[in-house]
């Protein structure tokens, strides 16, 4: 009878005992080579910006504040933990840690900001504002993202000229 076979099935399941992991009570470490949150080591970083160029989600922003200071900001929001930044970094300053417990109630908690000192040219050491936008770009180092609004800038001309950088989609939600 099928009812009897189902009851036998219940008894077989009871033999397995309880398989639930007591997770939040006991820690459960990730396996090695697990790609968790990337940790940026500022003592090793030379500010090349390779990680920023290589990030598929464009989550690492670079801003050259002036000639000597470059700010690298990792916003953790869109990071897909792919590990490309760690692969590309020439100084091995980025490590994909084993941390997966990243839940938070404000998304700014995952960001890491590095302020790096880049030395000036030893021969000319230029520090005055250049005339044409191209010369400005050459001086500023070709990378400036909008740190205040946490945005990756597609058109650098608009940074110089205060134009909107991304076409926002207008949506009617009612």
């Amino acid at each position: 009878m099928s009812v009897l076979s189902k009851l036998k099935e219940a008894i077989v399941c009871l033999k397995a005992g309880r398989v639930t992991l007591p997770y939040p009570a006991q820690p459960r470490p990730a396996p090695p080579q697990f790609r968790g949150r990337p940790i940026f080591d500022a003592t090793k970083c030379i500010g090349c910006g390779g990680c920023a160029s290589n990030c598929p989600a464009r989550e690492i922003l670079v801003l050259d504040v002036c000639q000597e200071i470059r700010i690298l900001k990792y916003l953790g929001r869109r990071c897909a933990y792919c590990g490309r930044c760690a692969d590309v970094c020439p100084e091995k300053a980025i490590t994909m840690s084993l941390e997966f417990e990243n839940a938070t109630n404000s998304i700014g908690d995952i960001s890491q900001t590095l302020e790096l000192f880049m030395s000036t040219c030893q021969r000319c050491g230029r520090c005055f504002k250049e005339s044409s936008p191209l010369e400005q770009l050459k001086m500023k180092g070709y990378r400036f993202d909008d740190l205040k609004n946490d945005r990756w800038i597609f058109k650098s001309q608009s940074y110089l000229g205060d134009q909107p950088v991304v076409d926002d989609i207008k949506l009617d939600l009612e």
Partner: protein
């Protein structure tokens, strides 16, 4: 006379409170045993109490086609099952025994099934309408089984009074109780459908497949419906125990009462075991099953008519 009235009222209140307090515990036990069968640590046993309290604390949204009917259906569902709880003996004679007969019992049970239909109709969405059409089909196939069991009891004891019929009356004929045993088998096989648990919970609690008639309910009204389904488990078990397994109900107060609740817990455990190991039936498979059970029940009725 007034003393009788006060005693009746106190007995009614005590019975209703006891049923209300024990119903979520039975549901909690059901969930915990299901979890143990599925090899996991389930929710704590008092979980349905937390669920009901949380639902009572939520906002009361008005939604669906006709909110007045929604509210009415929610109140009616809990009211009918609590009225049945006053009529059923639970280890000691029922408080409102003399005031109703068997026809009232069948009517109240059918009315509690109709509340689900009202709920689905007042929501008005397509999923609810499909849910209530399936529930209607099941009710048409299912309520006659219970009615046949009660009528067999009434035929054997030649009265419609509740305290005689609900006292193991199906076995109460002179010779070997053929019709009683046939009805016992039929009721055991269809018990899952009365309490709306897994192989047959097609109409109402079908939240995994579609949202069912309860789709537009939220907050306190949903708490009333969930409470009503928990209490239904208890009262159907109590009716089953009273009609088919009444031995030992005549004992003294603590012992008879504890024996009754032990029988009810055994029945709930049986429901759990069947619910945890079965999949849900399709509506046409279920109707075919009930139709065959109906044939068997009618043959038992004919046998009872001839005195077997």
């Amino acid at each position: 006379m007034e003393k009788m009235l006060i005693r009746t009222i106190m007995a009614v209140v005590a019975n209703v409170c006891m049923v209300l307090l024990v119903a979520p515990l039975c549901q909690g036990m059901l969930r915990k045993v299901t979890a143990i069968i599925q090899s996991r640590q389930g929710p704590p046993i008092l979980q349905p109490y937390y669920d009901l309290l949380k639902l009572l604390g939520k906002e009361d949204l008005e939604s669906g086609d006709s909110p007045v009917m929604q509210r009415f259906a929610a109140y009616l569902s809990l009211a009918t099952v609590l009225t049945v709880a006053c009529l059923v003996p639970m280890g000691f004679p029922a408080p409102m025994n003399g005031q109703g007969d068997v026809i009232l019992l069948i009517y109240l049970l059918t009315l509690s099934g109709i509340c689900t239909l009202l709920a689905g109709l007042s929501a008005g969405s397509t999923y609810s309408l499909v849910g209530i059409s399936r529930q209607m089909m099941i009710m048409i196939a299912l309520e006659p089984l219970f009615a046949v069991a009660i009528i067999i009891g009434a035929i054997h004891t030649r009265s419609f009074r509740l305290d005689t019929v609900l006292n193991g009356s199906v076995y109460a004929n002179e010779g070997f109780p053929w019709s009683g045993l046939i009805m016992l088998a039929v009721m055991l096989l269809s018990f899952q459908a009365f309490v709306e648990r897994v192989p047959f919970d097609i109409g109402e609690a079908e939240t995994e497949i579609m949202e069912g008639p309860l789709m537009e309910y939220s907050g306190p009204k949903l708490a009333l419906f969930k409470y009503a389904s928990m209490v239904k488990l208890i009262i159907y078990s109590a009716l089953f125990v009273a009609m088919f397994a009444p031995w030992g109900s005549g004992l003294m107060f603590p012992l008879g009462w504890l024996l009754f609740w032990a029988k009810v817990f055994v029945l709930v455990l049986l429901v759990t075991l069947v619910a945890a190991t079965h999949a849900r039936y399709r509506i046409d498979q279920a109707i075919r099953f009930f139709a065959s059970l109906m044939l068997v029940a009618l043959s038992a009725l004919v046998l009872a008519g001839y005195g077997f």
